[in-house]
Symmetry: C2
Subunit: 408 residues, 2 copies
């Protein structure tokens, strides 16, 4: 029988109260039972508890950081006594190094080592799980938000960033038509990610009169700046003026969805595109300063668990240097051509209107633009900037803490 055995053990090690109990298990773990109506047992490794002691000597409260002397940290530390304090809802541990630590039940619960709890914490608070979509599903997944609401209401800001994290795309509407919108929006989140090309950038067809043809060529699907190890995370494209010509539409594809298709239906292509390292490059100059950017990475980048970390694709920014064995070349081209065909077939086109701000994940989505007939009467003027995921997720966590009282 479970209960009597536990009671006997607790009596040896802890004060027993109505609300909370704790015991030492095998000398290395501490088991806490909240007894709040659930048969839940929380088990914590002693070494981890000692490492995370929250007393003033071990923890710096104002910076919420560990300051314990780790140069002399003893991993063989043992709990020698345990008090389950039901009144304060905390566990007090006395250690073999004569130190004493106190942990509230709430703090402990937030740091449960149960797999489901850890997965929930990571999914809800670290980084939301992505949901992949096909072009046909675009209208169902694409969320719209009002620009002014995003700027003034934290809950709308949170929803926009969450949507961007989950689906990789979201549209803001009714933004003013001045050139400061992307900066104000970026600063509402954090700050602009600067690149070789500066902070804000303008996308427009170069001067009409001097230009031989007023046509602006179609821009094939691509990701921006694949030639950076630290590729900018999120693209913000503010439509200030849109062309009246039939073209100038944005095209978007969920690169993770294309990777899903390859993984399922064409495993050899998937394997090749996620293994063979491609040289991405950009050579030029900006503000009189030359640059020569190169980053080497596969088209589909995976982490050690096989999760997508990044998609790279760009016709102009793939280097003519291709540092792979000769025998890999043709098979890789065939796999890459399949990736490109699948992406084109799945792309969703739509045209933003003045006041729209299109935001999307540049690590994951491919984007492009249909050709358009630009002229002085029918110009097209888009202002863009980048934001980084590090900065976006930080803001999203702060908002979740504030609005949903998520754990710290």
């Amino acid at each position: 029988m479970w209960v009597p055995r536990l009671l006997r053990t607790i009596k040896q090690h802890t004060q027993f109260t109505r609300q909370i109990s704790a015991r030492i298990v095998n000398g290395t773990n501490i088991e806490v039972q909240p007894e709040d109506g659930k048969p839940e047992k929380l088990i914590f490794p002693s070494v981890w508890l000692r490492d995370n002691c929250l007393c003033d000597e071990c923890f710096h409260g104002s910076s919420k950081s560990r300051k314990l002397d780790w140069d002399n940290f003893d991993t063989r530390i043992k709990p020698v006594d345990l008090v389950a304090d039901g009144k304060e809802k905390q566990v007090v541990v006395r250690w073999s190094d004569h130190h004493e630590s106190r942990f509230t039940l709430e703090w402990l619960k937030d740091r449960s080592f149960q797999k489901e709890k850890q997965e929930e914490y990571l999914r809800e608070f670290y980084r939301p799980e992505t949901q992949h979509w096909s072009g046909k599903q675009f209208q169902d997944i694409a969320r719209h938000f009002n620009y002014e609401e995003v700027m003034s209401q934290d809950s709308t800001l949170m929803q926009w960033l969450q949507s961007l994290a989950v689906h990789g795309v979201a549209l803001l509407r009714n933004a003013p038509l001045d050139e400061g919108v992307v900066r104000r929006l970026a600063e509402r989140v954090g700050f602009i990610r600067r690149t070789t090309y500066g902070e804000e950038f303008v996308v427009q067809a170069k001067p009409g009169a001097q230009n031989f043809a007023y046509l602006s060529l179609p821009l094939p699907l691509h990701t921006d700046l694949p030639y950076y190890e630290y590729k900018p995370s999120v693209n913000i494209l503010h439509c200030v003026v849109q062309t009246d010509s039939p073209g100038g539409s944005n095209m978007l594809v969920d690169g993770f969805h294309i990777a899903d298709i390859l993984r399922r239906d064409y495993p050899e292509d998937f394997e090749r595109l996620s293994r063979v390292i491609v040289d991405w490059n950009d050579i030029g100059s900006e503000d009189g300063r030359k640059f020569h950017n190169i980053w080497r990475a596969p088209v589909i980048c995976l982490d050690a668990e096989g999760r997508y970390t990044r998609v790279n694709h760009s016709v102009p920014q793939r280097d003519s240097h291709f540092n792979v064995p000769l025998a890999e070349v043709l098979p890789w081209y065939e796999s890459y051509a399949r990736f490109v065909r699948l992406a084109i077939a799945d792309s969703h086109a739509f045209k933003t209107q003045p006041g729209d701000v299109l935001t999307f994940n540049n690590i994951r989505l491919l984007h492009g633009r249909t050709g358009y007939d630009d002229s002085e009467i029918s110009p097209r003027y888009i202002v863009g900037a980048y934001l980084d995921w590090d900065i976006i997720y930080s803001r999203l966590r702060v908002l979740k803490n504030k609005i949903q009282r998520k754990p710290q």
Copy 2:
């Protein structure tokens, strides 16, 4: 016999000249023989050559980028005729799609598919190979440069950046003592990498500091900002005022060297530290804006080939959330404690003087500071900023192109 057979084959496919010859091999590769005295044969896949056609229709000269219509690219393209033009030292290919491409021998040689040539290109031009060092070797590997020379002479700038890339550390001397030095230096390379904490930062003892670094206590070995996916690459620390107290020394350790020791002598610890994912975090506020940064990554990060991509270590910035299975916790702590002990034992301490600018790779090195006795008479004032490798390597490639005429 090799020569007669080659001659026969060439006659079928190419004009034969004294200086250069070429033939189609198996219909999919093109073999070029420079005949400049070496028995060197260069083999290029046809699909790659067609993809990299340099004509105005396929290649945009001013941005040095491919503009070929890849949406309709045919990977089954075949060369139908070949001309080895000895006078112009180029190969002309006529394709099954009726297109014609020209490649100079020089361009082809720069893109050789020979393994040794590829390795040489990557080592010399993409990213230099790192050389790891123990604390005892510090004096042998640490290079010193004159600040004014770095600012005015491209060759010295190149040497500094190369040294930083190879050894992960370099010292500049005789910089002025104004607060603009780190910005001017960063802008000599590219631009400052902004973080949650802004662009420049000042390290001095501050009462009631939010950040652990701003106390005069000893600062244990760590890497900066491990809680960023896009961790700042290089630390620039300009010593403006140094304390007269015995403390305030910098400590440096080559984290890749410590990883080498673990890999060789303690493979189980190495495996654990390169596999178990740790939560790194930073919670606080800057300029009235709250942040909550988290990045999850092992202490030793490896790429698919087992090369080091990053080392993470920080006592204050390791989260109390530790999302691993219970059974992993104690073994991980034991491996981590070994890493910390090895790093401490190997650390090299030295004290910068006013006018010194210490620069080091934050992805690779651990740094710390001995405690010091600060006072109004004996202050310590360091101005810091970060630079990113993407930007540094770009600059280094431009300099190598200019000074050493490396290939583009």
